[in-house]
Amino acid sequence: MNTNGRLSRRTFLKLTGITSAAFVLNPPLRNLSVAYAFGEHPQEQASYTILKKIPQVCARACECDCAYNVVVGVDKTTGLERALTIEGRSEDPVSRGKYCIKALGFVDGIYNPDRLLVTLKRTNPKRGVDQDPGWVKVKTDDALTEIIEKMKKYKPDEILFASPGDPYSNRLCRSLGSTRSDQRTECFGTHYYLNCLMVTNPPNKYYSSTYTVTHSLWGFDYSKTKYMLWFGFDSFSKTAKAGILNHIAEGKRNGTKIVIFNPLRTPFADYIGDEWYPIKPGTDLAVTLAMINTILKEKLYQEGFIKDYTDAAALVDTQTKKHLTDENGRYLAWCTAHNKLEPLRECDKPALDGSHTVEINGKQVTAKTVLQLLQDNVKDCTPEWAEGISEVPGKDIARIAREFAEAAPTVCIPNLKRDPAGPNYANSWRLMHSINILHALTGSFDHDGGVLFLSGVKIPWLEDTDPIVKPYPEQPKKAIDYRTEYPVTNEIYRNKDFSAPGHYGMVGHGLYHSNQVKVVFFKGPHRGMHALIQPQMAEAALEKMDLVIDWNLYPDDGAYWCDYVLPAPHQFEEGKLDIRQYYPKWPCMVGGVPVQKAPGDCIGWGAIAKKIGFAMAPEYWTTDGSKDPNKMIKGNINDTALKAAGAANDFDDFINNKKAIWIDKKSYENYKTIREIGYGRPDGRIRLYIDEFVEVGHEALPKWAPRWTASEGEYKFSLLVTRAGWHMHADPNFIDNPAINMLSTKNYIDCVWVSPEAGKELGLQEGDEVIVETNPKYMPELPRPVRSKIHLTSRVARKDCILLFHGIGHRSKWLKNGVWGYRDGDLIPQKNPTIGKPHDPTGMGWVEDVYVRIRKA
């Protein structure tokens, strides 16, 4: 407007003519208020250099949850504060004074200029990634009121919460009778469900999956173990997990032997791993079966352990393929001392192997011990057989099996997330089963230097602190994520642990192929849409929804399908209590204090859940089941947990007087937890043989099964997915950090990694733009090829693989400026029960069971 010349003095006098008269009487203040009369300030300005240290716990950037202090600079004059950096806490048994780049990234993330500070409301009804939603700002509280009024019009099964199983989400979904499904938990789903079925059998006094961050239900004694097998455990994401790394480094310096199986040669394989095998993707199961074969054939197992603590000696009916039990449900064994059937727990000398004909209720039954069935199961799985599948030399597999067994029980096969036995392949649940069997055969479960079981410290559920006064309504008969089609896992979710992993890998399919759900509420900053596999299907489905809401730290691609986006506080703006069960050697609790008050109109999840819950199902959100707002549940779970552990009187006491940390450095009692929580209470047993799988037409013991997909023609590159050590999904704390983006670019994280050999065969040069496409046979609907530069690197050690990095990039044109990258999820086909059930009774996603082709763009 000033192109025609400068605003003249005359013009601005005119401009102000409308209002200037009014001002001379009163000070023109709206957002500023008078603290001192003008000119009466003492004029003594304090220095800028006051510091304070605020205890915090790492904001779920990985499973470690390192405790540290956030160093904050304070300007005493104005009261303003700013976090500067992190300082380690050496007294923390997990981090031992260390932390990683992600913790530092969180500090600067607080001050990200693109943070969402207000609630957004769509005015343009047309949804889509490049649609302009016509956002307007609304007060968060008003928006929630509007949302609730809209939600009230829908039946419980028409509402989906895409949310982790935290106490508030659980209570909200249960009180409304709506489905909760979440990606975060699915990453750990295969671990979680196999662990539930084999070991933990929730609910029990130790385990509550929300607070065992990875749902892995135990930790690994990295610094004391003598021998570790890593089936892809050394993913790039592990390169920055300080709470694990400091222990691994100590173990390595003390002589831990580490054997790595990974088609990638990660930095760990350069030195920390003693041996590294570039295994064929999706064939780890063959190696574990061959190890079991060797250990059984050569009787290298810990006989005392498997007799006392597992069902190895329990008898299984060869007809029904289920455990034989007495009238009290107790497992039966063949007593070699008395030559008769006895309850396993009462039998001094149970037969470990063999076939036995026994009489049950007057009927002759042929039964075999679990160990015998396991032997039968793996009898053909020789190391040579495994070599043919995995391309790991058979002689090495046999040697490693022997060395592993010899080092027992201080051995372990760490599995935390999407690494070994995560939901990577259709056979990953069998791999997890095999890994647990190896831990059982070596007696390393619940053993110092092996697999550490959780301490008894627990944070209660809301149901414990604020009991419900009447039963929750039924969950939907048909869940949109198809969990109801998977009876084994659905039983656990419905009746044992509501925080159990959801079947998020199928949510997109469910939303797209049905009209059941009308309302989707994404909770969990930057995880919702970004985290989906084949998000294009969910995107198409969201176009037809009546109401979509996101609670997020910043508006991401998902926002372009939302009606409302509510601003979430930054991770460091929330208080927390953490029990860090990933390293449970010593019961330990650490506290985190908000570094600052969340700016703008941000709202915490607990407040959202309470408001929706109280409005829609008040009987579950008041202490007496009334609708009295004065009787809202308090949910003081932190106070309760601290008091129960004897750590502090309450959270304030813990923070102010106990330095926000409590550790009980008692010595680890081997096998104590198994005794206390196992299936056959009180003498506890790990189940190697899983009857529930038989009931749904699968095998009760792991058998070799190939991947769901196969290499075909040009679609010959197995898709490997990892993430940089400095990223976590699409967390804006990291992908919106310009310095970290520079780091990523310098290390080619924005590229698709291809082996030099494959590059040569394809005629590709370093830096070429390529198109990566999924085999249409496995992705018949809504394919979306990925375009990227390539990086030729021998770190991709096989020419039949390519590597993509997870959690980078944006798609919306409104978000694209200055942001780079591609989306790995676009290449991963939606799963659905029809293709899933024949392969996998857990129903977890198979995110790397994909073959792609590459061509020059």
Binding site: Y48, G73, E87, C100, I101
Partner: protein, 237 residues
């Protein structure tokens, strides 16, 4: 005054780059880092971890070639840059045999490691450079140079490792242990000379004057923090 050095055992480096970002935060280098200019950065190369950071030569080429004495070798180890004396001729960028100093065009700054001299490790025995403090695996170690040299030699003998920096350019105050040939990992080939024992042929400046007064805590806040960094960059004469 003791001369200090950093010992980097690349076998334990996973390329997490916590050292890089800690350095950015410690020295408030966000702006230059965005432009790709860093005091320390780890490249995850195919053959190993290449740390691009100042070697703090015993007899630094940059110091020898700086006409304005904007770069100085301190007697306790670090090579420091003086922002006020520097005329931005970028001779140091050109002459450094290790290709370390970077010039940030936008901010008109030479970017290179100060070994966190502001942490005043000579006065404060517990202090160490920020990168060393944070390294999750303990791949970085800090101490008196002779002790680090002795340790490097012992580890090289025990584990059949290479030492980069012992003889390169006459010896450096960053000593790097590698399993592979360091040149294959990415470290540049630099002429080996007999170690310049007993100090540099160039004028060695004294300790950072008055540093102890402000470095009682490792971090200082806000404004003063930045000012303090500038003082260190200027060698605080």
């Amino acid at each position: 005054m003791a001369q200090y050095a950093i010992l980097l055992d690349t076998r334990f480096c996973t390329g997490c780059n916590t050292c890089f970002y800690k350095c950015v935060q410690e020295n408030r280098l966000h702006d230059v880092a965005e432009n790709g200019n860093t005091r320390t950065l780890v490249y995850i190369n195919d053959t190993g971890m290449y740390h691009h950071r100042c070697m703090h030569c015993v007899d630094p080429t940059c110091v020898a070639n700086c006409e304005k004495q904007a770069l100085t070798k301190t007697e306790y180890g670090p090579v420091l840059w003086d922002a006020e004396a520097c005329i931005r001729c970028q001779t140091c960028v050109e002459k450094c045999p290790f290709h370390i100093p970077m010039f940030d065009e936008a901010n008109r700054k030479i970017v290179k490691c100060s070994m966190c001299a502001h942490r005043d490790f000579d006065q404060n025995k517990d202090a160490q450079p920020a990168c060393v403090e944070v390294c999750p695996t303990g791949a970085l170690e800090f101490g008196e140079r002779q002790a680090m040299v002795d340790k490097a030699k012992k580890m090289a003998a025990d584990f059949k490792l290479n030492i980069y920096g012992l003889e390169e350019n006459g010896g450096t105050s960053l000593l790097i242990l590698t399993q592979e040939d360091p040149l294959k990992v990415g470290y540049p080939e630099v002429e080996k000379k007999a170690a310049a024992e007993g100090g540099s042929s160039w004028k060695v400046v004294g300790a950072v004057a008055g540093a102890a007064a402000v470095a009682a805590v490792a971090y200082v806040g806000l404004k003063k923090y930045g000012e303090r960094k500038d003082q260190i960059d200027r060698g605080e004469k």
